[in-house]
Symmetry: C2
Subunit: 279 residues, 2 copies
């Protein structure tokens, strides 16, 4: 199959390695000529170009640009394609993308491979990045069944675990387990830094160990990614944050009222619930 | 030196191993005869008894019981001691303990070794548990200098890093880096479990990965420990929680107002601040 990849970063480049190893002919497009050359030299793609017209012969195209560029790039891309081409994307938020692209291209299936590393760029791309990782697909009732089936077969060949859901369900789920934790964790850091006694602040920094390290990790991550989550998944994240604040208030009330029995019951329930997410 | 250990669990038992290896004669007291026998058999203490009178000849006594028992046990202990004996404790909250014991025993120095494992009990005790770990001491202006010096020498021999501060400063510092993260993290789990669409909840559980795992870890820990933190460090924890809620509100407001510039600046500041706590 001829498979196109638009955007040759960590995800696009990694897809290229795996799809080539499955015997597909992989065509890559990047805005930068140097990235095109690197992608070919590394063996991530068979051919690469800064021109979208390269993708005219592709049967399936993965759009792997930063999320802000997915819709505008697809708008430019489609004039080069024949109507049979399947388009999918790898954006970490689905509803706004699916809503924008579905009216433009009937053979579009939203996707989100939940894989990544702390690094980015074509140099960070690696083989087998998607093995045993979740890969969410968000077709709707109008998505042609054959397009879904073809895409599923490709995703399955990456070794990924496929989940189907509505775009809005995806966005709510990732707001709980990915976007809310970033804000929860960042707020922990800003709250601690607000300590007004410099001796206490210094002591806190000296005494912090694995508990603080883990709870603050995602709040100390890439600021641009954090803004992107908030920007593109704003409604779901706000809803999660408001629910979260409600729960913080409940904990504060229990401690104010010295209701240790209920507090212990709540902490027992969190101890029991956590493995549902992590096992 | 004769060193007494009252309470032969993870911390008491581990202290015993290290103090014996430094050449001290270690006397252990536990409420359970079986624990006494185990501690002697494992080599954590030289002698052990369920009777506090065993500690009558000790020069220094570490009180290593659960936090709720520290003050009542010291009240019973002191009738067996001569006035030169130094008492210290290992409780994770300092102000209420120091306030209760200082009037009873002038040669008391509050302490908190910041070391532990997920396990508890004498069987979990291990050698060199305190190496390179913080060990906070909270003497006040009235604490005899020689008592502080003797205790410091012992703590230094464990390989620990000694910090001095007021009991209230200790309690505020640990509320930031240890007790607040537990409530922050537990609230994340309870908020997620409050998702009303069972398909979204199931999807969230399937998609959760390292970010959620880390942020939720301490909220899924021992419920009794969580209650103990809240109970004994109530004022400091409430103050931290209120500051934290204030910061959550700020994040919510920025996202509501779509003020992406300020949000990115805040996330940049958390990215810069986190290494102050973790490096």
């Amino acid at each position: 199959m001829n498979i196109g990849i638009l955007g040759l970063g960590l995800i696009g480049g990694s897809l290229g390695y795996d799809l080539r190893s499955q015997g597909h002919h992989v065509l890559g497009v990047s805005r930068r000529e140097s990235t095109c050359q690197t992608a070919v030299a590394l063996g991530s793609v068979d051919e690469a170009s800064v021109e979208m017209s390269l993708l005219g012969i592709a049967d399936v195209i993965f759009v792997c640009t930063p999320i802000a560029l997915i819709v505008p790039q697809v708008e430019q891309l489609i004039k080069h394609l024949n109507a049979a081409t399947i388009i999918t994307d790898v954006g970490s938020v689905k509803a706004p993308i699916v809503q924008a692209i579905s009216p433009l291209w009937s053979r579009f299936v939203g996707g989100h491979p939940m894989a990544g590393t702390a690094d980015s760029g074509i140099e960070a791309a690696q083989k087998n990045l998607f093995v045993d990782r979740p890969y969410v697909l968000t077709p709707d009732a109008n998505t042609p069944k054959d397009a879904i089936a073809i895409l599923e077969e490709i995703v399955r060949s990456l070794g990924a675990k496929i989940y189907h859901c509505q775009p809005e369900q995806h966005d709510r789920a990732v707001s709980w387990i990915s976007h809310l934790p970033v804000m929860v964790s960042a707020s922990l850091i800003t709250a601690c830094m607000g300590e007004t006694d410099p001796e206490v602040l210094q002591l806190a920094q000296n005494l912090a160990s694995s508990g603080f390290r883990d709870t603050s990790r995602v709040g100390g991550g890439n600021p641009e990614l954090g803004v992107m989550m908030a920007r593109y998944n704003r409604q779901a994240l706000l809803s999660s944050l408001q629910q979260y604040r409600h729960n913080i208030n409940k904990f504060i009330n229990l401690i104010e009222q010295e209701d240790w029995t209920t507090l212990e019951a709540k902490l027992q329930s969190t101890q029991q619930a956590r493995p549902l997410f992590t096992d």
